[in-house]
Amino acid sequence: MSTLALSHVTRAAGETLPARPARIQRFTRETALLVGRGLRTIPRVPTRLSDVTIQPLVFTLLFLYVFGSAIHIPHMSYQNYLLPGLIGQSLAFGVIGAGVATATDFNSGVVDRFRSLPVTRLSVITAQVVGQILEQILGIAIVAGMGLALGWRPHMSPWGLLELVLLILLGLSAFTWFGVLMGMIVKSSDAMQGIGFAIVFPLSFLAGTFVPISGMKAVPRVIGEWDPLSALVAAIRSVTQGTPAQGSWQLEHPVVSMVGWCFLIIAICVPLALRKFRQSS
């Protein structure tokens, strides 16, 4: 059907319109162009990056040097307990980042323009997800680098490092798709910031990020034991420090649980997000 349309496209300032390549090639090319567009704007809006850079730094310093003096974790330094937690929290906060960016983009009219062009629609939403993941990777790298400088000592084989990277990428994919879907549903970037913070912030505190779940009072303990973010934090901690947590099945099998949660989130959010994107009006 696209070849028919071509005969109508005339005189583009003296340049003939190139023949359209196969769909998969177009998708890759268009996604790359749109991701490039997003990356190019990053240095021009430094405030947007503060979520993934300054915020985790503040948490690191605050917990390591203020609360950390009062928190004692048996058999390990607080750095070694805290840093995997902070990496998990950064991953989780990616939901808010992706949601706010999506809501902002969709309200600006730019996305509508892309959708009204003869580009594959999948590339528009994929570029959104990929761009967000790249931003989050930067944030996680900053947290990890800061942690190493302040005394975090992961105990990992090279295979463990690979496992960690794969887990983080899987987690980023799941939480970013979730955030993109939320951004499309909530529509307003302010509301997205508010709702995202109200949900993710407490869940990330209950997830054994800063203090062990086993020491919490009954209600937060039960929530923490089954909080998906707990699986995330516990999985990262078990890979980097080799110390599984205890309390619930998911905490005792954190890597399997985290992978399960991520695939569940992806299986639900990706089709919904694509559907929403096709229909959105």
């Binding site: 696209s2 028919l4 349309a5 496209v9 583009a12 340049e15 190139p18 162009l33 509508d112 009204s116």
Partner: protein
């Protein structure tokens, strides 16, 4: 009004019974339209009349609830990809990336249309010349003026010359000078053979640009015709007399109703009188209220507005909820 040498009878846009519901809200109802190649059609109506929804259905951004629409023979639902390659949309809010420069935005558009770097650059240079973007080409879009944004936005829609260009309220929010620039750009495009479909809230704009006008309100087409046909039905200029207070208004109505056909807007303390003979009619009205000078706040001769057009063509104000809708026909 511009006549297009390439005007033919080929139908570029056809809608039949086009309808869009958002939940219980009927945004567009049973909308029929035919746009012939090379013509300029203006969709004229107040805010919330359904103009943007129609545009979005044509541009494949939202699917109709009922009815059908085709662009160059392609169905907007079944053949959306083909529609996107012949139709170009310039939306109501400049759809540009704020944190890229004018040039970067245009390059991105050209690359997305499939051009490799070299040809994309040549196309963008051409557009920068044609739309007079040179002096702010390297400024971030967020720091240029509204009129400049519009120019970049229009240029971005013309990276590949479309068969049909859709402009959603192209001059809303622009100062008069920028509006003139946009108008002349639009006329230039039509001379190059582009078919234009535009929406506007301004009667003056539809009159200045279009060769066919469709009035729309509450999602329904309420009248259609050439600007001259519609103007003949709307009537000419009007004289507005605004009273200092409500009592003054009653006295003015008493003394004017004997000799003039009045439209009364109580909330604005105003009577409005048709003035086919321009200044002569203004003088007549001024003479009639000369003894009541202390009751008159303002007398003005003005062109018909969108409100007047709707009142004359459909018998009602465009949006009955609006404050200015308190207009009753008082014929004596």
């Amino acid at each position: 009004m511009t006549t297009n040498p390439l005007h033919t009878d080929e139908l570029v846009v056809v809608t039949q019974g086009l309808t869009k519901h958002f939940g219980d809200f009927v945004a567009v109802a049973d909308f029929d339209l035919e746009v012939t190649a090379g013509s300029i059609v203006a969709l004229l109506g107040p805010n919330g009349a359904g103009k943007t929804t129609i545009v979005r259905m044509l541009a494949t951004l939202t699917e109709p609830t009922q009815g059908k629409a085709t662009v160059c023979g392609y169905d907007v639902v079944r053949n959306a990809d083909a529609v996107r390659s012949v139709l170009s949309l310039t939306g109501q809010f400049a759809a540009l990336e704020d944190n890229l420069t004018a040039q970067e935005n245009l390059l991105l558009m050209a690359r997305l249309r499939g051009y490799s770097r070299g040809p994309a650059r040549r196309i963008v240079e051409g557009l920068i010349d044609r739309f007079d973007i040179g002096e702010f080409r390297d400024k971030l879009i967020k720091s240029v003026s509204g009129g400049q944004r519009r120019r970049v936005d229009l240029a971005a829609s013309l990276v590949v010359q479309p068969r049909i260009l859709v402009l959603d309220e192209p001059t809303t929010g622009l100062d008069p000078r920028s509006r003139q620039v946009v108008w002349s750009t639009i006329r230039d495009l039509v001379a190059r053979g582009v078919t234009l479909f535009l929406t506007t809230q301004y009667l003056e704009e539809a009159d200045a640009l279009a060769d066919h006008i469709v009035l729309i309100d509450h999602g329904r087409a309420t009248a259609a015709g050439t600007p001259n046909e519609l103007k003949a039905r709307i009537g000419d200029q009007r004289v507005d007399v605004i009273a200092v207070d409500a009592t003054g208004l009653d006295k003015l109505i008493d003394s004017l109703s004997a000799n003039f056909e009045l439209a009364i807007a109580r909330e604005r303390r105003m009577v409005s009188i048709p003035a086919p003979n321009d200044l002569a009619d203004l003088n007549l009205v001024t003479a009639a209220v000369s003894g009541l000078g202390s009751l008159v706040d303002e007398i003005a001769l003005r062109r018909p507005t969108l409100d007047d057009a709707f009142l004359a063509l459909t018998g009602q104000s465009p949006d009955t909820v609006r404050a200015s809708s308190d207009v009753e026909e008082a014929q004596v």
